[in-house]
Amino acid sequence: MKIATLIICLLLLSSMFIVSCAPAGEDTEEEADTAAEEVADEDIDLVGEDEVDIGELI
């Protein structure tokens, strides 16, 4: 009987531990928030006038 009570207690304890440590979807929220804050690309790949340089012949 005592062993059964002990096992139940352990099971309860472990399940509560899992619940308390779980991130509860925090990451997903964080990702969604970042996406919502994303307006336009910060770094835009504009082509400059001198992107290619092969050097001078003289």
């Binding site: 509560m16 336009a40 992107e51 092969i54 012949l57």
Partner: protein, 451 residues
């Protein structure tokens, strides 16, 4: 055994407390009824009523917010300024033949790679032209230029291997490395054959060759410019469209744009400055980066300020209703007054820069639910409805005035345009009649003597 069991139960309680603490997110959705149950302490409220009557911060925020422009005009202005891909192509005078090549390149390697590939072709053409000028100079000096000719032939072969519609970035890098090595070899050999004092004469010869092949070289230069501009302007327009859509979304979410509208304008200025040639691609790249950051930060502030102002409006309505109830000799529930005072404090602490937009929205939901509970109080419910109606009427009247003012401004613009037309017509008539432009007629039109 009993001791172990007791310890385990103790641990269980400890963990359950930990779990509760983890769940107690300050920004979580509120449970108003719970809050109501907690708020039971009785206080002397006479002083608090006084505070509410004197407090004007929240009311000022509400007042100022109602006077603010929504920012729709700025979004419209930016959207009107946006160019479609077709308009950009038309503006750059892309020929049918070029359009076909661009389409093929876009499918194979993308527009950006095409623009860089054409630039490589442009560099090759100039280098081959220079090389030939140097070889001719060396030959004219009675030197043996056969080795230089052979090196230049290698560069020609490399150029012939360029397919601007298919060359990938990796292939281009490989090409550039090879070309650099050939060019360096040519330069070394050329310097063996000519003296330092020959260099000005060689440069003159190069210039003469460039003049001779001007049309061909300008053609490839123009092609490189068109490819570059097409890519850059399309990209800027696409990015600008995204920002304008973002601002539109803010408006759909019921937010006034405030300073975000100005940041939107700033981004549009970067796009236009590049388009008009007032900014290089490098400058535009840098400016764009800064301005997008500014826009994003300002958007955060805007959301916080909007949420704060909306709460302030609701709180100001309750304050006003309490005042009216008191003036009518009604007894105002003391807990209502103390709650309002608390909410007012919370609103005043709601500062842009201190909390994120996300936190602001979550906190606003908590406060809003408290406010709506207060609004249900029997003593002030009807009064709040009346205040809302009165404010709506004022808002409608303001809109009418705004529309009328816009109409008057439009009329003034039309009159001015008509005057300019009349002045031009008078000048054309006089010129046709062989007279000097009749200033009298113009003056008369301007003075309104002639319709």
């Amino acid at each position: 055994m009993k001791k172990i069991l007791a310890m385990l139960i103790g641990l269980m309680f400890l963990f359950s407390a930990f779990a509760v603490a983890e769940d107690a997110d300050p920004t979580a959705e509120p449970v108003p009824t719970l809050y109501e149950d907690v708020e039971t302490e009785e206080e002397d409220t006479s002083e608090e009523v006084e505070t509410i009557e004197e407090s004007s911060d929240v009311e000022e925020v509400a007042e100022e917010y109602e006077d603010l422009d929504e920012g729709d005009e700025v979004v419209e202005e930016v959207e009107e300024d946006l160019e479609t891909d077709e308009e950009i192509e038309e503006d750059l005078e892309i020929t049918e033949e070029e359009a076909e090549e661009i389409e093929e390149a876009e499918e194979n390697v993308g527009l950006k790679q095409y623009a860089v590939n054409v630039q490589l072709r442009h560099r090759y053409q100039f280098a081959l032209n220079q090389g030939q000028a140097i070889i001719d100079y060396v030959t004219e000096q009675g030197e043996d230029a056969s080795e230089l000719e052979s090196i230049l032939e290698e560069l020609k072969t490399l150029n012939d291997g360029v397919d601007v519609t298919e060359m990938t970035d990796e292939e281009l890098q490989d090409h550039v490395e090879k070309a650099k090595e050939i060019v360096a070899r040519f330069k070394e050999k050329a310097h063996e054959l000519v003296d330092e004092e020959d260099l000005p004469a060689i440069r003159n010869k190069i210039k003469a060759y460039e003049m001779k092949n001007r049309k061909k070289l300008e053609l490839i230069k123009k092609k490189a410019m068109k490819a570059r501009e097409l890519h850059n302007r399309k990209l800027l327009a696409r990015q600008m469209r995204k920002v304008a859509e973002d601002a539109r979304q803010l408006r759909k979410d019921g937010q006034k744009l405030m300073n975000t509208a100005e940041r939107l304008r700033d981004l549009n200025r970067v796009k236009n400055a590049y388009k008009n040639g007032d900014m290089s691609a490098e400058q535009a790249r840098e400016q764009w980066k800064n301005q997008v950051r500014e826009y994003r930060d300002e958007k955060q502030n805007t959301v916080v300020t909007n949420e704060r102002a909306k709460l302030a409006i609701a709180a100001a309505r309750i304050t006003q209703a309490i005042r009216q109830a008191k003036a009518a000799g009604k007894e105002v529930p003391p807990e209502l007054v103390s709650k309002l005072r608390e909410v007012n404090k919370q609103i005043e602490d709601f500062k842009a820069g201190k909390i994120t937009a996300r936190e602001a929205v979550a906190k606003a939901a908590t406060i809003r639910s408290r406010l709506s509970n207060m609004e249900n109080n029997e003593q002030i419910k009807q009064r709040i409805q009346n205040i809302i109606q009165a404010r709506q009427q004022i808002a409608e009247q303001r809109q009418v005035i705004k529309d009328e003012t816009a109409g008057i401004k439009q009329d003034v613009r039309q009159i001015e345009a008509d005057r300019v037309d009349a002045r031009r017509a008078a000048a054309t008539t006089d010129t046709a009649a062989g007279n000097a432009p009749a200033t009298d007629a113009t003056t008369a039109v301007e003075a309104g003597d002639i319709e």
